[in-house]
Symmetry: C2
DNA sequence: TGTACATCAGTGAACGCGCGTTCACTGATGTAC
DNA sequence: TGTACATCAGTGAACGCGCGTTCACTGATGTAC
């Protein structure tokens, strides 16, 4: 919806979009490592050299695709969260996790681009850092808000301290400040990291084929693991859980 | 230590080993998608066509590397477990998880080959299924033995049922039979899946760069998350935890 | 122990393919007077 | 409104590279008599 004045600018915007779309589709069939500028150009009926009017290099195109994928995922996660009553924290947690898995299942190769093995020879520039952290930030936001609202109970097992407490605490406290979780107790911070890594772990294991022939209904099992994680983090509100 | 009779057989065994070693080293610098038969041959000072005396194709070589990596990881995990007193179940859980992460950190590209995004154009044959499940099988074994020994308490929250209970239960019960966990309650089966996916999730997020600039001492945080998972599964024995 | 033959590791050339990137160019679109 | 010039999208050829795989071959190693 940006103001485009001339026909040239319009054509440029349109073609940039088409190149990205085609590249995304190629990604979905061949994977990131096999993404080829020439193949994209070929499909669009233009010379490979013409693509260089739009992207300075293959890596540049990849970077844009990565950022847009992070943003697509981030949008979905945030929308899902925003659709839930702000005070239904456990419910919100489910919404975000469910949205992440849904998006991942719908865009497996884009998910792999973000959370799979790094593309050989490609180094992500700084620009990807911000979008890359949106899901984690939103999860942290829910935990922080829930804590402040008194809807998270600290774990009962405070008696038995965790191993490596001193070494881990440095990281966790710094993390808490970055994510605006200043007053959340460390016990809950670790649990948030646990839940975060569990969610992505499940989705990765599912999409990368480690559950083949073992779990037929991953969605159902994922729902359960999400609920267990929500309880482990300490969410107490008992708003109805989405199915 | 197999009986090798002729000089030919000895040379063949030796060269097969060298090809695999070189390929593994290339994997470690360039990633799986970039693994090239020609590059391997070049480094060994032989013609690319000569490699075909040892491996029928590039995919064949990849398959062998995958199986051997699964087995190397499986060996490490099982050795770590076997080094602990059999009845110290929580301790054993820590040993296996720690071994997995240690191996992964030491062999990041081999780990990526196993648990990262699938290599484009490569389809894993049946032979990888067995070795690929060794870590999960060992974790399940610990849970099963711990349960039978009465060292795992069922979760207290049985009152609040999990979502999707009926759909998930089918999968979980079948999984339990495959892994010889017949009498372990469903609540603990889900928790085992949670812990399993959390462990691999953490390692993947760490190795694939999602923790850069956020967690400086992943080992310490990993130790903590492992302990939390062990408690969540329900291990009750309080043998000292390894540092 | 020696010879004749079979096995098989390794060579070198070739096929056919694809890739990213550069560069001098044509010709259409935009702009300033 | 019309002309002169600048901008820039797209072309086509080329550079230099690497890849997996096949095939007819040489020559060393192994085996049977």
């Amino acid at each position: 919806v940006t103001a485009i004045r001339t026909a040239r600018e319009l054509a440029r915007a349109e073609l940039t979009k088409q190149i990205k779309e085609t590249a995304r589709r190629h990604l979905a069939t061949s994977g990131a490592a096999a993404l080829s500028l020439r193949a994209v150009a070929r499909e669009l009926g233009m010379t490979s050299s013409a693509v260089y009017r739009y992207f300075a290099s293959r890596d540049d195109l990849l970077t844009v695709l990565i950022i847009e994928a992070y943003d697509a995922l981030g949008d979905r996660a945030e929308q899902a969260d925003d659709a839930v009553a702000p005070s239904a924290f456990r419910h919100r947690w489910h919404a975000v996790c469910g949205a992440v898995r849904e998006w991942a299942v719908a865009h497996p190769h884009e998910y792999a681009l973000l959370y799979g093995s790094p593309v050989p020879g490609y180094r992500a520039p700084r620009d990807t850092a911000g979008p890359g952290v949106r899901v984690a930030a939103r999860l942290a936001l829910i935990v922080g808000a829930g804590w402040r609202a008194g809807q998270i109970v600290p774990p009962s097992e405070q008696a038995a301290p965790l191993p490596c407490a001193d070494r881990a605490e440095v990281d966790l406290r710094r993390l808490a400040e970055t994510l605006d979780l200043g007053d959340v107790p460390v016990e809950i911070l670790v649990r948030t990291v646990v839940a975060w890594s569990q969610m992505f772990g499940f989705v990765s294991l599912e999409l990368f084929g480690q559950m083949a022939n073992a779990i037929n209904d991953p969605e159902a099992v994922f729902e359960q693991t999400t609920e267990i994680m929500a309880r482990m983090v300490g969410f107490t509100d008992d708003a109805p859980t989405p199915t």
